[in-house]
Amino acid sequence: MIPLANPVPYIAVIGLVLVGLFAVVFKRNLIKIVIGITIIESGVNLFLITLGYRENSIAPIYTSSPGGLMSLPVPQALTLTSIVIGVAVLALMISFIVHIYRHYNTLDASKIRGDEE
């Protein structure tokens, strides 16, 4: 990685998104697909926070702070909203999985979709 000086946060984001995408595309159990979606959301939240860091900076809080450069507060506020929305979407997805299981009596995505073998 010659052009970037410190590529470790971006490599972590790419790793999380690719692991989640592998679970969504290649797995057939419904619960594994939902876990893959949650891992992709964790990767996106990490990316939002790494955009707001300044070198050698402290948290943007004035109570008994040692003074100095502060990191940006707006990406942290956007990440807070994103985490809560991720929890809401996860709760709805799991309740729909319970409903689907009562109706079809299986958790295999290709059998529910009706693929011939």
Partner: protein
């Protein structure tokens, strides 16, 4: 392998290559040079105590400078709880 599996592998490699090349074009981690200075965040950090009265700049942003986004998030949380209780009400009978 079947046709669907082959298309899935092609899609996965295209996304992986795209993400890798995007990461090489990002700005270096933690360094803001002369043509992307964070002017909005510098103004929020400097004036957060005298305009909102909060020592915590992140809470000042969430509830005062961008309170409308918090209203939208509270609506999403309410809708999710209503949806979950609605789905399980028919299962209980």
């Amino acid at each position: 392998m079947s046709k669907r599996n082959f298309a899935a592998v092609i899609f996965f490699t295209i996304v992986a290559v795209f993400l890798f090349f995007t990461a090489l074009m990002m700005h270096p981690f933690g360094i803001f040079d002369d043509n992307n200075q964070p002017e909005m965040d510098d103004r929020i950090i400097d004036n957060s105590q005298t305009e909102t009265g909060a020592n915590n700049a992140v809470t000042g942003v969430v509830f005062d400078y961008r309170g409308f986004d918090t209203l939208g998030e509270a609506t999403v949380l309410f809708t999710a709880v209503a949806g979950v209780i609605l789905v399980f009400r028919r299962l209980k009978k």
